[in-house]
């Protein structure tokens, strides 16, 4: 059984204002929730390069289709579905023109910061490995894992937007970690 939304959501008045066409309320909503929306898109695509573009598409769809939102209490799952669908559409396009977008990220990560060069390199390498491992996860496990880590969502919040039981979220998070650990151990071996 899917989780019901919490009794009171402080964002509901903001969403109501967006529904009335208030652009500034919309800007505020974007500012507060763009992180997890990008997390959803990255969770589906596993491609950090396209996250920003697809995120904009998702928010645009939110603005243009807000009139279709019947129950304001369910705005989060609704936005989740918009973001997810935008990511899936982008994924279909990307699969046609496969490209490797990791190079920039690896280069950016290996640039030395204020720490010592050796430490920074270790840290960057480690980050790159973990990012690759996250990207290699099936989307099924990657989505809740990203939502958990980007905005620190509880199992209940993840279950609500993904419209699934809390137990399923927990199971997916356990499997995500198990797969990540196995993936990283293989690289070390």
């Amino acid at each position: 059984m899917a989780v019901k939304p919490a009794e009171f959501d402080p964002e509901e008045p903001v969403v109501e204002a967006v529904r009335e066409g208030d652009r500034f309320a919309f800007a505020e909503l974007v500012r507060r929730h763009e992180h997890w929306v990008r997390g959803v898109i990255f969770g589906v695509l596993g491609d950090p390069d396209r996250t920003e573009d697809v995120s904009q598409q998702a928010w645009l769809a939110f603005w243009q289709r807000i009139g279709e939102l019947r129950d304001v209490k369910r705005w989060r799952p609704w936005l989740y579905r918009l973001a997810r669908n935008a990511a899936l559409d982008a994924g279909r396009q990307t699969s046609r023109q496969k490209r490797n977008s990791m190079q920039w990220k690896l280069e950016a990560m290996s640039s030395p910061g204020p720490e010592s060069a050796a430490t920074s390199l270790d840290r960057s390498e480690r980050h790159a490995e973990v990012l690759n491992a996250i990207r290699s996860l099936p989307a099924l496990y990657r989505e809740p894992f990203v939502l958990r880590h980007v905005d620190g969502w509880s199992y209940r919040q993840i279950a609500e937007v993904m419209d699934m039981p809390v137990d399923s979220v927990e199971t997916r998070l356990v499997r995500a970690r198990r797969l990540l650990r196995e993936c990283l151990q293989e690289k070390l071996d």
Binding site: R23, H127, V130, H149, V150, E170, V174
Partner: protein, 197 residues
């Protein structure tokens, strides 16, 4: 291979995610003390979580969207289009009802144009409307004799319909009505008629 009991692995994950209960925490603590494999798994997951959190925050958390939501154009579709359509439907229905009310003949209707009241049918007995001039009684007992009645009488009045919409608004529709009554020939001949005023 993962030698750690899946139940303990689940407890470790619950603890890292902040979802563990007190009882579960005690159980996990006991297991971590006596099972080196569980302890090693806990440390690995903890390090993995910390790094994953940093990576994902770097990647997704610290950026802000490059577009300005306040400049995007308004949606092309009107908001709540169904509600608007319902209003039109309601008004159209009200007009149709008014036309029907004019077209269908009614036996007799009292006049009542006060908002909040509804049209009242009174059966088939003809009723003389107040604003039609009537002959005065000749005798004190209220009986009229040999009064010359007009051969054609007209009733005029207003029917008021109240239509309630879904928001609780009441639309009042007034229908002007005129009815012509012809007296039977025997009455027209000047016979006494009895009327209670």
């Amino acid at each position: 291979m993962n030698p750690v009991d899946p139940k303990i692995e689940r407890l470790i994950v619950r603890q890292l995610d902040g979802e563990i209960t007190e009882a579960e925490q005690l159980q996990l603590n006991r297991e971590l003390l006596r099972n080196p494999g569980a302890h090693r798994l806990w440390e690995e997951y903890r390090a993995l979580d910390a790094t994953a959190g940093e990576v994902l925050q770097d990647l997704l958390g610290d950026r802000h969207t490059s577009f300005d939501p306040t400049t995007i154009p308004a949606p092309l579709t009107a908001k709540r289009p169904q509600l608007v359509r319902r209003h039109w439907l309601l008004l159209t229905g009200a007009v149709a009802a008014a036309i029907l009310a004019l077209a269908i003949p009614r036996p007799a209707v009292t006049t009542n144009n006060q908002p909040g009241s509804f049209v009242e049918k009174t059966g088939t007995q003809p009723i003389i409307v107040d604003n039609v001039p009537r002959p005065r009684p000749v005798n004190a007992d209220g009986l009229m004799r040999n009064v010359s009645m007009p051969s054609v009488q007209r009733e005029t009045g207003t029917d008021v319909f109240g239509v309630l919409d879904e928001n609780g608004n009441v639309y009042w529709i007034e229908v002007e009505r005129t009815r012509t009554l012809r007296r039977p020939a025997k009455n027209r001949a000047g016979r006494a008629s009895r009327e209670i005023l």
